[in-house]
């Protein structure tokens, strides 16, 4: 073999080994994805709908505006997102900073956290401050699932800023799933199969779709990073 080609092969092998070692030491990217999936799964108990004919209005204006009004625990659902999501972002930031500091290989936490929070705050402000009919198309806000859009769009932005096309793809898929969940009753698919379904639990399917995409995405990123070490 040509000596320069042999040298190039050796250099490429060294470069690959150095990259693998760095990848193994840096913070794991599957953890933020899994954390966000946990937040979505955690909302499930609060997404049981009111029985037919239950028109008691014990929920706030904000709950009604953002589509939580149909839920049995509408205010609890609204508060859950306002608390759980910032807390999860804080946990993710703490993990990224701690692991980066310990291993000596840092990933910028702001790419996950800042953009996730900016999108979430923008969503909250949009829902609260602007009359929904003027702002959002069609029935985007009637199911109380708009936080899914902020979470999944945040993942997409993180993937793009990190030039990580796997994370970007997972974010795009999850965002598509989030849009479907906000615009369509997924129970219709089950009902079309002739399976009876208590309508009060129908929103759980809508929550499960993006949560599953994020979970499968976390597993895919974990496997990718394991294989490439």
């Amino acid at each position: 073999m040509d000596p320069s080609a042999e040298h190039s092969l050796q250099v490429l092998a060294d470069v690959t080994a150095a990259r693998r070692r760095t990848r193994a030491a840096r913070p794991h990217k599957w953890i933020p994805l899994a954390g966000l999936a946990v937040v979505v799964f955690g909302a499930m108990p609060l997404y049981v709908q009111r029985p037919f004919g239950d028109f008691e209005s014990d929920h706030s204006e904000v709950s009604r505006l953002s589509g939580f009004g149909q839920l049995q625990h509408s205010d609890a659902a609204a508060i859950y997102w306002l608390v759980a999501l910032p807390v999860m972002y804080a946990v993710i930031a703490a993990y990224l900073v701690r692991r980066g500091s310990r291993s000596g290989v840092r990933l910028r936490a702001s790419r996950v956290i800042v953009w996730g929070l900016i999108l979430f705050i923008a969503l909250v402000l949009a829902v609260v401050a602007v009359p929904q009919l003027q702002l959002l198309p069609g029935n985007l806000v009637i199911r109380g699932l708009t936080p899914l859009l902020a979470i999944t769009a945040g993942v997409m932005v993180w993937g793009a800023l990190d030039r990580d096309y796997t994370v970007l793809g997972i974010g795009a898929l999850a965002l598509a799933g989030g849009l479907v969940s906000n615009l369509y009753n997924l129970e219709n698919i089950i009902l079309a199969q002739g399976i009876d379904f208590d309508y009060r639990y129908s929103l759980l399917l809508n929550l499960a779709l993006p949560a599953l995409i994020l979970t499968i995405g976390a597993i895919a990123v974990w496997m990718r990073d394991r294989v490439s070490r």
Partner: protein, 106 residues
């Protein structure tokens, strides 16, 4: 037609410096100690190579106090990433060209 080796950048192509850039490409910033251990270098040797890369604006060096001890964090600049990508593309091209020639010869 020029041989691919003529396109190699001397600053980047040097084996240790290429290794440093490869390590930095996988993270936002990497600790001096980690780079030294990952590439099996002495502190003095690594400092000299970092100075060359910094001079060429391929990396940025940031010294910070962390938990009471000084740490040096090194990151790849946009220019550094472009140079690394270009270098790796040339090396791959070189290997492919030789492999094509070998296959034709057999």
């Amino acid at each position: 037609m020029t041989h691919p080796t003529n396109s190699l950048d001397d600053v980047v192509h040097q084996r240790t410096r290429l290794g440093i850039l490869a390590v930095l490409a996988e993270a936002d910033s990497v600790d001096f100690v980690f780079i030294r251990q990952a590439l099996g270098l002495t502190a003095g040797n690594l400092s000299r190579h970092l100075a060359v890369l910094s001079e060429a604006r391929l990396i940025a060096v940031d010294k910070k106090d962390s938990a009471g001890r000084p740490r040096t964090w090194v990151s790849l600049t946009k220019r550094g990433r472009t140079s690394l990508d270009a270098e790796l593309a040339i090396l791959k091209k070189l290997v492919e060209a030789v492999e094509r020639g070998t296959n034709r010869g057999t």
